[in-house]
């Protein structure tokens, strides 16, 4: 295995341990249809399959490997990436608590009190507590710092009123990371960051309502706060420091943070088709060798061939850039490649799906309920869902601003 070459002794031992454990304990494919990403988990059946998997992987030490032991972690040194590599190579299901692992955990870890870390992180890492993120509002999307949901101090408590939107997993979540306004006179320094127990407050200050996506499916929500009372101990960092804390969250959300997020995936579905992104180009080639176009196979059409290869090259280019980012001598600005990750992964995924529709031709008009739909309507669904990824977590346009300003040093857009 390529990945094993530069392992430390601790990493090498841990890698072997992960392999052995996965061989004995990785779950069988589920009976229910899983969504394409954990952000689209809709049903309790799906959650009932995924949650025990995360719990088992956590108990075995494959989730939270680098977190301290008193926070429910494994206390290891740079071993999470090893577990991730092995879980992807093995083709496991993904983890359901994706916002908790990728965003809430590093934020709590960097900005929470010791007491709060010990209280919250074990349940987060095990998946017992699902987390969601309360950042966007109807009036605050790309301009995140303009959030208006307000927290008013009342002794040792805060009283929260307002409206958050696009809240994935809120219908399963115990906890929410929440960016709130505590001072209306200062845009950036008037923000404060909280972690809030929402499940226990449903019907008592918190309302979670599903939003229907472009695909016709649910999966994300709006969350309304009406006089929700939260104790001051659930505040992260100082009053007025919410924007700085949110930056930690966003950096990790975009895959450029300091703590490696536990991730798993690559599982084949019941038909044996890989669900990972790496396999997407091969899947498209396979699709093109079946679809017909203008009296011959789509794979013989020069325009389709060129588009397929362009996409394949972009995908390989991204993969090799991520490899090059680890070689200091071959990079100039240290954030130049890491900050491209989110933008490129989501845009390549979107282009892949668009090309799949082009290859399918008329058959791409058939959707989930049609028995003749190729691959059960997977590609039109993927294409529509891909816009969730190019819009969420900083739109592609915001990502290009960040790259232009932080890496190229161009003047900041207002």
């Amino acid at each position: 295995m390529n990945d094993a070459r530069k392992d430390t002794q601790e990493q090498a031992d841990f890698r072997q341990y992960c392999r052995d454990w996965l061989n004995a304990n990785a779950p069988e494919p589920p009976q229910v249809r899983l969504p394409q990403t954990p952000l689209e988990i809709m049903t309790t059946e799906q959650m009932d399959y995924l949650r025990p998997w995360q719990k088992a992987a956590h108990e075995a030490g494959l989730v939270g490997a680098d977190y301290p032991e008193d926070c429910g972690g494994g206390g290891r040194n740079d071993c999470q990436r090893i577990a991730n590599q092995e879980m992807h190579a093995h083709g496991t299901p993904f983890f359901p608590n994706v916002i908790g692992l990728g965003m809430a955990a590093p934020t709590v870890f960097h900005h929470g009190s010791e007491e709060l870390k010990r209280e919250l992180l074990p349940g987060l890492l095990s998946g017992e507590d699902i987390w969601c993120q309360g950042f966007s509002e109807p009036g605050a999307g790309s301009d995140l710092a303009s959030v208006q949901t307000f927290a008013e101090r009342d002794g040792d408590n805060w009283v929260i009123n307002g409206h958050k939107v696009w809240t994935s997993l809120a219908h399963f979540a115990e906890w929410m990371i929440l960016l709130l306004r505590t001072d209306k006179s200062d845009k950036y320094n008037g923000l404060t960051y909280f972690v809030v127990p929402i499940r226990s407050a449903l019907g008592n200050g918190v309302t979670v309502r599903p939003l229907i996506k472009i695909t016709g499916e649910t999966g994300f929500n709006e969350v309304i706060f009406e006089h929700l009372v939260v104790h001051d101990r659930y505040r992260l960092d100082d009053v007025g420091k919410g924007w700085q804390v949110a930056m930690t969250t966003l950096l990790h959300e975009r895959g450029a943070g300091t703590l490696v997020t536990p991730t798993a995936g690559g599982m084949r579905n019941t038909k044996g088709e890989s669900t990972s992104r790496a396999a997407m180009a091969s899947a498209l080639i396979a699709l093109a060798t079946k679809a017909h176009r203008n009296g011959k196979l789509a794979s013989e059409d020069p325009v389709i061939r060129d588009k397929l290869m362009s996409l394949f090259i972009r995908q390989e280019g991204l993969r090799q850039s991520q490899r090059r980012a680890q070689v200091q001598a071959l990079t100039d600005h240290p954030m130049r490649i890491p900050l491209q990750g989110k933008l490129l992964m989501t845009e390549i995924q979107q282009e892949s799906a668009a090309l799949a529709l082009e290859i399918e031709g008329m058959a791409s008009s058939l959707y989930l309920a049609d028995e003749n739909a190729p691959e059960s309507g997977k590609w039109p669904l993927s294409y529509m869902n891909s816009f969730g990824m190019t819009i969420a977590a900083g739109t592609s346009e915001v990502q290009r601003n960040i790259l232009g300003e932080r890496v190229l040093g161009l003047a900041k857009s207002k």
């Binding site: 794979s299 290869m309 394949f312 972009r314 280019g317 850039s321 070689v327 001598a329």
Partner: protein
């Protein structure tokens, strides 16, 4: 076989790349380059283009021109990934000299079995520049197409689009005989060789039609084996050219970013506007993909040659895309001044458009790749 995580780019490779970057910055900064090669804007100027002969001689002394000659042939035997690092810096400096040609010839010679190859390596070690004369009158990118014929020990015909023809000391000629393509080594001064310069757009390069009339030649690769040799060397050639283009594209990016940071209109620097900012980010991303694919292809040449072709095709496709976009954006965002001869961006614009075509454009590389991945199903 699999590749090392760091592409095999170790301390020696880094030292060479750093030394090359310093060398070009000191010995051939862009204002000096412009004085040297862009002295006369007249489109009808003398076809013989000026070049950095003094710097070429220094490179010979530094050993850079024989880097890729195998150790058992008396050369330095530098891994391809190190040669890529040098080539990237040469491209960034738009170096006007036969470095790329000589390195390409080296990789062709490495696949030749003939006695002549040993002597040709010796010539390179002594400081000779060698170039490839393998293209027909239509500029075909197919190794099998040549207008030069070989019979009874002598060459007849014309090789077109020969790079660095005037700056080189000898040619590796691809010629067709009764039993197929062979490769032959011909000295520039040999009887029957005539060089007719092309009047080209690119100010940093030199190109000519080289005619052979009953020229006696040294065999490098026997009739019937020449195409296989050129096919085997192709990944290295594509990788070297792509490295040159990546370096040049990075110059285009940095120069345009700098200008977009200083030039002000409507009360803001140009880079403030997203119509300028976002395309420059896209250019950066295209360069990064191309650069990563170049080092991946170079590393494949060193460690997994069976996959080198597909990775080199990817690198050259990505390099062509980055070059094309870098050309159009660098001139466009320099505005009126970018449209003039005095602004240095035209040097790189012209070099990149030339490079895009030399070994096949992006679409050509992608069709070659499609044949590998779709018809042959050989995804690495």
């Amino acid at each position: 076989m699999s590749q090392p995580n760091n592409f095999g780019f170790g301390e020696e490779e880094q030292m060479l790349a750093d030394a090359a970057a310093r060398y070009f910055a000191e010995q051939l900064p862009v204002d000096q380059l412009h004085k040297l090669v862009a002295d006369n804007p007249d489109p009808h100027r003398d076809k013989h283009s000026p070049w950095a002969e003094a710097q070429w001689r220094e490179m010979v002394e530094l050993g850079w021109t024989q880097l890729a000659v195998p150790e058992d042939a008396g050369g330095l035997g530098m891994p391809a990934v190190g040669v890529a690092g040098l080539m990237e810096q040469a491209g960034r400096a738009a170096f006007p000299g036969p470095l790329l040609s000589t390195l390409c010839s080296t990789y062709v010679l490495a696949h030749c079995n003939g006695e002549g190859a040993v002597a040709a390596f010796e010539a390179i070690i002594e400081g000779h520049a060698i170039t490839l004369a393998m293209t027909d009158q239509y500029g075909s990118w197919n190794a099998a197409d040549t207008d030069v014929s070989y019979a009874d020990g002598s060459l007849n015909g014309t090789a077109c689009f020969v790079q660095d023809a005037n700056r080189s000391d000898s040619f590796i000629v691809s010629a067709r005989g009764p039993n197929g393509i062979g490769l032959y080594w011909v000295s520039k001064g040999a009887a029957g060789v005539a060089i007719a310069c092309d009047a080209i757009v690119d100010l940093t390069r030199d190109q000519a039609r080289v005619s052979f009339s009953d020229v006696s030649a040294v065999e490098l690769s026997a009739q019937g084996t020449g195409q296989e040799v050129l096919d085997s060397a192709r990944p290295a050639l594509l990788m070297l050219l792509a490295a040159d283009m990546v370096g040049a594209a990075e110059w285009q990016l940095q120069t345009t970013v700098e200008y977009a940071g200083t030039r002000e209109q409507f009360g803001h620097s140009l880079g403030f506007f997203q119509a300028v900012k976002h395309p420059l980010v896209d250019l950066m991303i295209m360069i990064d993909h191309a650069k990563s694919l170049v080092y991946n292809a170079a590393c494949a040449l060193d460690t997994e040659p069976e996959n080198a072709l597909q990775f080199a095709l990817m690198a050259q496709s990505a390099a062509c895309d980055a070059a094309a976009y870098g050309c159009s954006r660098s001139v466009q965002y320099h505005g009126g001044i970018g449209f003039t001869w005095e602004c240095y961006v035209h040097l790189y614009f012209k070099r990149q458009k030339h490079s895009e075509m030399w070994l096949g454009d992006g679409a050509y590389q992608r069709e070659q790749l499609a044949q590998l991945l779709i018809e042959d199903r050989s995804i690495a």
